[in-house]
Symmetry: C2
Subunit: 411 residues, 2 copies
Amino acid sequence: MLSAEIIAIGSELLTPTKTDTNSLWLTEKLNDIGIEVMLKTIVGDDGSRLEETVRDALKRSDVVITTGGLGPTADDITREYTAAAAGRALVYHDEIEQHLRERFRSWGREMPEINKRQAFVIDGAEILPNPNGSAVGMLAEIDGTLLIVLPGPPRENQPMFIDHVLERLRADAGTVYVKRRILRVSGLGESAVDEIAAPIYTGYPSVQTSILFNKSEVEIHIAARSDNELEAIATCDRLADELTKAIGKPVFATNGETMEQIVGEHLKRRGETVSVAESCTGGLIARRLTEVPGSSDYFVEGAVTYSNEAKIRTLSVPLSVIEANGAVSAECAEAMAKGMREYAGTDHAIAVTGIAGPGGGTDEKPVGTVFIGYSGAKGTKSVGLKLPGDRYLIRWRTSQAALDYLRRQVM
Amino acid sequence: MLSAEIIAIGSELLTPTKTDTNSLWLTEKLNDIGIEVMLKTIVGDDGSRLEETVRDALKRSDVVITTGGLGPTADDITREYTAAAAGRALVYHDEIEQHLRERFRSWGREMPEINKRQAFVIDGAEILPNPNGSAVGMLAEIDGTLLIVLPGPPRENQPMFIDHVLERLRADAGTVYVKRRILRVSGLGESAVDEIAAPIYTGYPSVQTSILFNKSEVEIHIAARSDNELEAIATCDRLADELTKAIGKPVFATNGETMEQIVGEHLKRRGETVSVAESCTGGLIARRLTEVPGSSDYFVEGAVTYSNEAKIRTLSVPLSVIEANGAVSAECAEAMAKGMREYAGTDHAIAVTGIAGPGGGTDEKPVGTVFIGYSGAKGTKSVGLKLPGDRYLIRWRTSQAALDYLRRQVM
């Protein structure tokens, strides 16, 4: 298996607010053709560190990809120091300069002289055209290692990689097929999922299986590799099926879909509609349901009834229900769902009420106390939850639990 | 200025779905005491690459921090290879083993034998206690460079860094005070902001100023450093004030606040209330307003009137308005805002209607066409926008534009 390193270049990537996301995209593309990423480096506009990093990478890995630092200004130093690390000169390409001049002219501008820097290329390197920007990429073989120099912006480096690098790497890597699936699980913790899943996936030692926890759900990532495409697909699907069967209903997606996509698919298939009444989630459930293109087919209306007066006015929650049980109660959640369904005239309605914090908790109903109501043709019911986390997480987990509650009614 | 490198260790950090977030937190802490991060590396459970990375880092930087790889299992190789890179032996500490045995006993369990691995420490290193986990940290001076070995989980490494590393580094770095401010700007592009800001911040060459674009707003990050605390504060505040004055109303936050926090502060100060009617944003604006703790003081109700029937039923939008202008129109946005304000009885109401895509666009009203309506004591008005981006971005940018429109009415 070929090994790769990715080097992201730019001082802005060494600040507390920026992460290198190019490497995630590249890692997936490389993994898909059977190339493993062994090391990632983020280096600033610092020539000696950049040169040392590239030189070390060229020595120990089969493929070295750099991103960024190809702009026209003085702090764009990638051309100079990758060439130095490779022990090659930079060569001026007049045709690149002419191309840049035309590019600027097409916008009615003259090329600034500083852009001439972008016409320098590592001696002997293949030039990778960039239809979306002024920096060309480069590809050179240095003592048996492939050095690939890409611009930083994703809308420039991604098409460049797909159009000019991917097939070349695929040929070098040999034919490896990777089939991936992502199962998503709601209502079970990471260790509970692993307890069920581990005895199954350990029976597939050649398949890479990883279990991740994401705010409110567990993801099982499956990647089956083979030199036979059908075998990769069959192995991946067989493991996914076994896991889905063993875990059961908590598996809400078997191809990486979001909860709102799955709920939407079920509603669409049934030709039914939904409305949502939200208190503590403040519009988050409606926002998630309507994030899905085409959701207007089944999503009719949402009410963010944050105040008690809104619950009474819009959802016809009886004042006596709130007075007897509080607005955060199973009774209120059910009345909200029932009122919402009648108001909007939908097949299904869900409602949530709870305490997201940081204030508002009591001994009896601490922060994280949440009630989810559902109303449909068969009647109205509710479930109570105690959710951990801060305000953001409690709201998110409430929305996930409510959508999952709805899913179990319509699946 | 001291230079630092951060090395994150663990194969899971080299997958397409995981990023190293420890380094962001550490970078901020280091920057705050005047230490600059020059390089970040992410390396897997690969001994030779890890050893080479640590050895190179020790040679070229003043401070080297590793995170992760200190667990008890065979793929936790940090102890072994940092020791090798430092040219030191590993020494078994019986008192660590005893402490671990007690820890396990306190949970009513016996320590698995495998955890004995965690009792090995680099010869001569200071042991950094870990009240939140089983892996101790280490701190050692290697030929004038400080090597700091921390566990991976943030809830273990952050208290360890604060309690046992920060003051030590501060002493080495000398007294440097850093004062940071973040200005946030809505309604102007990155280059328009830079055109106004650059002539000002270039007059402060000692202040680090960076301009970032975030989905729907521009951020100006200011970091002023000085060995005099009052001077750092005064310089930072002076630059922030000059920039705020020059850019004007588009600056919505001068201390990094979110748009919804700022709108909420204005409403709270005025003792006024708001309601929201949303079509294309599907609940996002209500979700953002209610994300702020205490928002129940001013947020009364939201209506996600996705369908025309909901616009008519809940907001009393006249059918004739929709028939004459379409649901995506200035007239409909104004009718929605007016209807919402009357329905909820609030001081202010905002409403949005638009085409988020990918479907639903026409030649006359392409995807990204959005109308924002506002209604208040002084009357009702609207603004039309053409927003770029995919469905997610159009919805986000619509919510930001609507909140900014509201801000300008209440500021």
